[in-house]
Amino acid sequence: MENQPTTPSPTELRTEEFVVNIGPQHPATHGVLRIEATLDGETVKDILPHLGYIHRGIEKMTESMPYKQSIYLTSRMDYLSAHINNHACSLAIENALGIEVSARAKAIRIIMDELQRLTSHELWWGSCAMDIGAVTPFFLGFRDRERILEIFEANTGNRLTMNYIIPGGVMRDVLPSFVTDVKELLKKIKGYRHEYDQLITGNFIFQHRTQGVGYLSKEQAISLACSGPVARASGVSCDVRKHYPYDGYEKLDFNEVIDYGCDNWARYLVHMEEMNQSIHIIEQLLDNFPTGEYRTKIKGIIKLPEGEYYQRVETARGELGVYIVADGSNKPYRMKFRTPSFSNLGAVKPTTVGLKIADLMANMSTIDLVVPDIDR
């Protein structure tokens, strides 16, 4: 080995790398997630996520539960998309049994799904801005989300884990005032939208913190199996509502929001535009809200024929897949949830390595992780 010079020249000066554990109790992870970050000064060199702090073994539990009960567990996965998770599970069972759902139930389901997407994106908007350093948006996001939760509470009885969408339709009919309530709500939300843009979208500091930061190329997004706003901000067309429509999305007019910016700013814009699209979808359904049955009668005990079933839906975070292996009994042989946050978690490392540690928080917030959705 060659002799080392006794004092290195300034260009060769190397600082020592050290490891910082971020979490599991850290406000920026929005849940119990531990990130092992290898740092060189303030620059992030490596990221290793550690999961399992909220692992409840949902996939194991479903194996010992009848199909109907398993649906209720899915509300606890991505608690910000509870309606949509229930919807995925119900659809899988309906398609396996060949149950036709009434037009009214389909309309209620889609309105609830899109309202859920609005609540999720509003919460995301507030917390994303808070992670970057603005506190006021958090209150505004919650203020608007609260209006939608009131509709959920009145119609489904719950605010967070609704368990409202069940095989065959929905649990109970909506209130007679539902249509006028939602119309009133949308009017309010649209009135608030300019505040979002004034406060954050047009904010110079926010733009500087997000533009050109957290680059995720299209190839990498595909390779990492990213979905939802994360993939669409990298130019990947992956909206399940467009490519594999379910429950009447094919009849509705809406755009798949795609941005080619690949950075945090693009992911922000995709989220914001998706909220507009959700409002647009709900308005179309409210104009001619179908009458009729809200639930098709199905057997008390659900038994799926032997085989494999896969159903996917678009949650607020991306593609949720429910994979059921049935053996003919009233319990699933194996049930696998392909959750969007679990795949999107892989995007944290490529977006962050080489940036400063403060950008890790910005990246994690625009990737929009929900930890119970990762751990299941």
């Binding site: 595909i222 390779s223 494999e308 896969y310 795949s343 892989g346």
Partner: protein, 151 residues
């Protein structure tokens, strides 16, 4: 390609492999040794271009294991299920597909944690959900735990 077209294409292109179908997807049964060559061909061939591994999981069909790959293409939006059967229950090993899709990093960690299937060539195989000292693999059908209480 539609489901039927894809099934016919697979029957012609892979004459020595078994092609079946599930309710949703065509199903290709692959031998344990051929995983990497077959999946590489599926990913690169201009007719299929399965560049998106949206789900990788395993099923315990006591005594065998099935490793299942769900593939889709961002070019054509057609889907395929690929299934590999592992017969060695004591020491199940399969080649990692991390070289083809980076998403396999987390998926295979989870399968290893829950089923004890080891992936050759995986950069960092670890118990991702449970602690390193955990006894047994919970999603196996013969998993025993004193703490499981049936209500």
């Amino acid at each position: 390609m539609s489901k039927e077209e894809l099934k016919q294409y697979l029957e012609v292109t892979y004459p020595d492999l078994e092609v079946k179908e599930t309710v949703n997807f065509p199903l290709l049964l692959v031998n344990k040794e051929d995983v990497i060559p077959v999946l590489t061909k599926l990913k690169d061939a201009s007719e299929t271009r399965f560049n998106f591994l949206f789900c990788e999981t395993a099923v315990d069909r006591n005594p065998n294991f099935e490793v299942i790959y769900h593939l889709t293409s961002t070019y054509y939006h057609h889907d395929l299920e690929v299934k590999v059967i592992l017969e060695d229950r004591e020491n199940p090993v399969i080649d990692s597909v991390y070289g083809l899709w980076e998403a396999a990093d987390l998926y295979e960690d989870e399968i290893y944690d829950m089923f004890g299937i080891r992936f050759k060539g995986h950069p960092n195989l670890r118990r991702i959900m449970l602690t390193d000292e955990w006894n047994g693999f919970p999603l196996r059908k013969d998993y025993q735990d004193d703490k499981i209480i049936s209500l």
